[in-house]
Subunit: 189 residues, 2 copies
C-alpha cells in the first residue's frame, strides 16, 4: 500500500497535516506495517501559504506507483492550473490510483481531468468553480465516487484522513486512531 501526499508552494499546511496525521498512524500505530507514504513535490523545497518551509522526501517522482494520492488545498492552487509541468506530473498516476483531495485540491483534480462525470465536493467558497469540472457537485463533508474521494474545507482533511483509515484498515483501526488523535467527529450525535 503506497500513498503520496502532494505538496506545492502556498498550500494550506493544515489541509495536508490534517490527513497526513491519521493516515500515517496506520503505520506508526501498527495497523499496516507495509504502508509506504511519501511527501512529494515538484521541487526540493515547498513554502506553505503561512510561511513554513517543508522538505518533501520525493521530488517530481513517478506517481503511477501509488495506490492513493492526496492533494491539499491552498492559495497556491490558482497558480497550478497554468503550470503544465505540475499538471502533467499529477496526470501520471495509474488508472487504478485513487485520487483524493481536500478543499481547493479538488479543483486541481478537476483541472487534471479526474472529475469528469464524478460526484465531488470542495470548500463552500469554491463550489462555483468546481462546476467547471463536473455537474455533480455535492455539498457533503466527504464525497466518494469510484476512484475519486474529495472533502470540503481545511479541517475536513482530518475527516478525509480518518475515512481513508477506515477504508484501508477497517472500522476498528479508524476508531483507535480517532481516539488517539483525541478527535470528536464532525457528526456529534
Amino acid at each position: 500500500m503506497r500513498i503520496a501526499f502532494i505538496v506545492y508552494d502556498d498550500l494550506t499546511l493544515l489541509d495536508f497535516a490534517g490527513a497526513y496525521d491519521p493516515v500515517t498512524r496506520l503505520k506508526t500505530m501498527g495497523f499496516l506495517d507495509d504502508l509506504e507514504y511519501d511527501v512529494c513535490a515538484m521541487g526540493e523545497k515547498v513554502k506553505s501559504f503561512e510561511g513554513l518551509e517543508l522538505i518533501p522526501n520525493k521530488v517530481h517522482n513517478n506517481l503511477s506507483v501509488y495506490d492513493y494520492i492526496f492533494i491539499p488545498g491552498g492559495n497556491g492552487v490558482m497558480k497550478l492550473f497554468g503550470d503544465k509541468d505540475f499538471m502533467s506530473w499529477i496526470k501520471g498516476v495509474s488508472s487504478s490510483t485513487i485520487v483524493t483531495a481536500v478543499c481547493g485540491g479538488a479543483l486541481v483534480l478537476g483541472a487534471a481531468g479526474f472529475l469528469s462525470g464524478k460526484q465531488a465536493t470542495t470548500h463552500p467558497e469554491f463550489m462555483k468553480y468546481l462546476y467547471k469540472f463536473t455537474d455533480k457537485v455535492k455539498d457533503s463533508r466527504i464525497v466518494s465516487d469510484g476512484n475519486v474521494i474529495t472533502a470540503r474545507g481545511v479541517t475536513s482533511a482530518v475527516d478525509l484522513g480518518l475515512y481513508l483509515c477506515e477504508r484501508i484498515a477497517g472500522k476498528e483501526a479508524r476508531e483507535k486512531i480517532q481516539k488517539q488523535m483525541d478527535y470528536l467527529s464532525y457528526t456529534c450525535d
Copy 2:
C-alpha cells in the same frame, strides 16, 4: 503581538499545524495586521515524528520578546526533559509571556516549571505524568489558568488555536476564522 511556535524533532505535525492555521489567519485574513509569528527551534531543521522535515524561521532565538509561545506534543517530548539546552531556552520567556501547549507539550511546560500551582490538561494518556508537575490536572478540552493555557490531545490544537484567536481578536474574528476553516467545533450544541 508576537507568537512563537516551538518545534523539535519527533513532534506530532498536526499538534503544531492545528494551532498554526487559525492563529496565522489572524494576520492572513486581516484581523491583526501587526501580528508577527515565528516557527522556532534549537536547530536549522526539524523532523516530525511522521518523517517530514521542516525549516524553522528562527533558530535558538530569544523567546523573551514573545507575547505567546505554543508548544506542540509528540514522541520527542520524552527526549526534551533531559535536554538542558532546550529546557533553558524555553525558560527564557519573559514573566508576561503566555505559555500554551497541546497534548504532551503540557509536560514540557511542566518540566520547565510553568505549571506549579496551575490548572492544566494534556492527552488523556499523559494525565498521570502531568500530576508530577501540578496537582490541579483537569480533564477539559482547553484549560486556562493565568498565563498558562493547555489543551488535550492532538486535534484539540485546532480548538486551542481558535481559543487564542478569540482571546486575541474577539469572538467575531474567531467565528469568521472557524467558518473559513470549515470547522464544526467539538461542542456540537
